[in-house]
Amino acid sequence: MRTKILVMAIFGMMMMSANGFATDYVPEDLTIGGGKQSLLTLKEQFFKTSDRDQQVIIVKTINKHTSTDKFALLAEIVEFDVRTDKLGNFCHPDAVLIALEALVQTKDPKWETIYFNLINKYDNTKVRMTAAKGLALIGSPNMVPKLVNMIKNELSYKNFREDNQKMVADDMVVEAIVMALGEIGDPRCFPALLEIVTVQNHRFQTIQAAWNAMEKLQW
């Protein structure tokens, strides 16, 4: 009986996704115009709720907006929890991640401080890794000293253990930062990269990323 119910539930879920009726569904061919007025409506609706699905739908809808002013709103959503520095998140990490991915694609240097603050303060690994990717795509050397400090001190563990979730999550962020440093190519990060490959208090993937980054440095 239980198996029957389970099979029916799985089938039901498959049917829902097959029809595109996900709970955070937004039509692919949607276009939102209306300039600042409709963006304001979207902003008001977003900050009315902390519900995951509602926030995701609104962020996806903002992405469909025709105005470039949408990026300022996406940036506001992305940095809201970091800026307000409250306990717990108001913006769901899934919504933040979608907004951040759209920002990152702009490769606009004006968002680099936001990316750095996310890497430094946000409590979701995927978001922090995407923020590091944002810095890599910008390729600006401004952030190199701060990023180096982060991987050498704040995110480095002398007794790194792969069975410690927090350490592994932080190390995934280190890997993303190392990749970003490779893309930036600034030789000032060489000592930090060398430390990663020699001390080896990181995951294999991070050490490999450090080797790759070293090859990309522009001496």
Binding site: L30, G33, Q54, I58, T66, S67
Partner: protein, 146 residues
Amino acid sequence: MKRLWLPAFLLILAVSGFAEEKPKVSLTDEVNKSYRVLLDLNNTFEDRKKAAAHLKDMFVNGKDETVIDAIVDLLLYAYDQSNYKEENDKEYKSDMIALELIQILELSGDPRIFPALLNIVVKPNHAQATIMEAWKAIKMIKWKDK
């Protein structure tokens, strides 16, 4: 003179109290009649369906733009049923009315309808068909910056 303040204050309160019963925009009398019928979810499904049809007629043939204001108000405040359950017949029928109201908005393509439609597509307070109709109506908005 002081004695006049209290009645004047009460008069203002009474007027503002009555004013809240209407949407903030002024509706034409014909539209207001149908709006009143639709506003009360305890009115019968048939009466509300007739009122919705009347609103459609007022918009299509009567070119009455206040129909849009009335519907936006209804969708935002009366037909936004929290904890909506399709198994509840009364709620389901009200949602069918909401779907008809959205179809009237669709004809307008007016950007003023966006907040009401957005409120529908984000919340789980409606049937799937109603949400899909709201998306369709959003896609049909004639944005003024295009």
